[in-house]
């Protein structure tokens, strides 16, 4: 087990993308998924105990070594990265896509009440969203979804890790008894994305509403 831990550690060290269990077991013949998971948990615990410069994050269906947020100011002084902030509009659009995918541009614009063309182009360029295909309705509009990169950037294991929309209550705006009334009508749209969608293309193309391509 010691040696396996070290082997896995070296693999995580050299990879720039999150490594899935499959990729790891492929790289280490003779080791089963269960053993691999144990080694990874052991590593995770070690890093937690050590509270060193990095930790092991479960993200985008895999595992990845990342620096701790506590040290971000020093890291930024070293790397001097370009500021990575997304605009409010971009974040809102991203949130709509994350929760409502698969979704059309017109749906997004309906929810936000503004034109989204420029923002969508930006998000596509940053590879945070992707095009699943076209919906077979007049106009054949494009269908959008979030990408694996989205999960990586926001540190999500999978879409199910997103807090549900019902949890989003701005303080002081909705009274309890009316909330259930409204929630019922919103529930049809606001169900956790995990029910409908997977990060990969297959399942979402088969959703009951859209006949894509």
């Amino acid at each position: 087990m010691e040696e396996l831990k070290h082997i896995v550690e070296s693999l995580l060290f050299v990879s720039d993308t999150p490594l899935g269990i499959d990729q790891l077991t492929n790289a280490v013949p003779g080791v089963q998924a269960e053993e691999m998971r144990e080694a990874l948990s052991a590593l995770q615990r070690e890093y937690e105990g050590r509270r060193g410069g990095f930790y092991l994050q479960q993200v985008a269906g895999g595992y990845q070594l990342r620096s701790r947020p506590e040290y971000q100011s020093w890291i930024r002084r070293l790397l001097q990265p370009q500021p990575a902030r997304l605009s409010k509009a971009a974040l809102e659009t991203l949130a709509v896509i994350a929760y409502k995918q698969p979704v059309l541009r017109s749906d997004i614009e309906h929810i936000r009440g503004v034109d989204c063309g420029g923002v969508l182009r930006l998000l596509l360029e940053k590879r945070l969203i992707r095009i699943l295909g076209r919906k077979e309705i007049p106009g054949r509009p494009l269908v959008y979804a979030t990408s694996k990169r989205f999960l990586e950037v926001f540190g999500l294991r999978d879409l199910r890790e997103l807090p549900t929309l019902e949890d989003m209550e701005e303080v002081g705006l909705a009274a309890p008894e009316a909330k259930s009334r409204l929630s019922d009508s919103i529930a049809t749209n606001g169900e956790p994305a995990g029910e409908k969608v997977e990060p990969t293309g297959q399942k979402s193309l088969d959703s009951e509403e859209s006949e894509v391509l």
């Binding site: 809102e92 009440g113 590879r127 926001f154 807090p163 909705a174 990060p199 293309g201």
Partner: protein
């Protein structure tokens, strides 16, 4: 005579939903119980003010103004006696407003996470130092290269004699989903890798059609490192 230009701090609202939400919060009312007259009045006066400042208004703002006035007029009409459960006309905006508010909160929460490149970082990846791709420009694959490449594949897969009726033919839509899955896992794949040797001709054609559709829609790019070199499929 030139109009005096004043430096005024303007509260900029991106869209009508943004503005409406601001008014709801400012007036400290409940979304599901909006005092429609007051809100409509404030909304309209804001629109007027913007117009007087010569600020271009998106049409969406005016659509919302019309919607608000329509709701207000419906509220003023006497309720029908025999009418069944007629929905509160304010639900027309209460629902989208509620949804918008939740999305805004969701966006805020997203930003608060440990964002890669902001609060957490990766070990800097090593750019490819040797081999394919170092410093060489990517060429866009032209249609003729594509045809040539496909013809080479067809030549390598001689047509089977006789007619085979196969029950499980792959549709272009399914193949697109498959290719998207491969790219999600592997980030890049070569053109030839997508064509299985020994596959029935129909499948080869479907794969080509799928790739062409994905390029057309903008999901993927086809590139070559050198003229006549390997064609690679990348996410756009």
């Amino acid at each position: 005579m030139e109009e005096a230009r004043y430096q005024v701090k303007i509260e900029v609202f991106e869209g009508p939903m943004d503005l409406l939400l601001h008014l709801v919060k400012k007036n400290e009312v409940e979304i599901y119980d909006i005092p429609i007259a007051v809100i409509t009045e404030q909304y309209l006066s804001y629109i007027e003010w913007l117009q007087s400042m010569n600020i271009d208004l998106a049409g969406d703002f005016l659509v919302m103004a019309a919607t608000l006035m329509h709701i207000k007029s419906r509220m003023l009409l006497p309720a029908h006696e025999e009418a069944g459960e007629e929905e509160d006309p304010r639900m027309q905006i209460a629902r989208p407003l509620m949804e918008y508010m939740r999305i805004r909160e969701a966006a805020k929460r997203l930003e608060e996470r440990d964002v890669l490149g902001e609060s957490v970082f990766l070990r800097a990846p090593e750019p490819p130092s040797l081999g394919e791709g170092d410093g060489q420009p990517l060429l866009q694959v032209g249609l003729f290269e594509l045809i040539e490449a496909f013809q080479r594949i067809l030549a390598a897969n001689p047509d089977q004699d006789g007619v085979t009726f196969s029950a499980d033919t792959l549709s272009v839509k399914d193949r697109i989903a498959q290719i998207a899955d491969i790219l999600e896992q592997r980030r890049t794949v070569t053109f030839t890798e997508l064509f299985e040797p020994g596959a029935p001709r129909a499948e080869l054609v479907v794969t080509l059609l799928a790739l062409l559709e994905m390029v057309r829609v903008g999901i993927i790019r086809l590139v070559q490192y050198a003229a006549g070199g390997l064609i690679r499929v990348l996410y756009a």
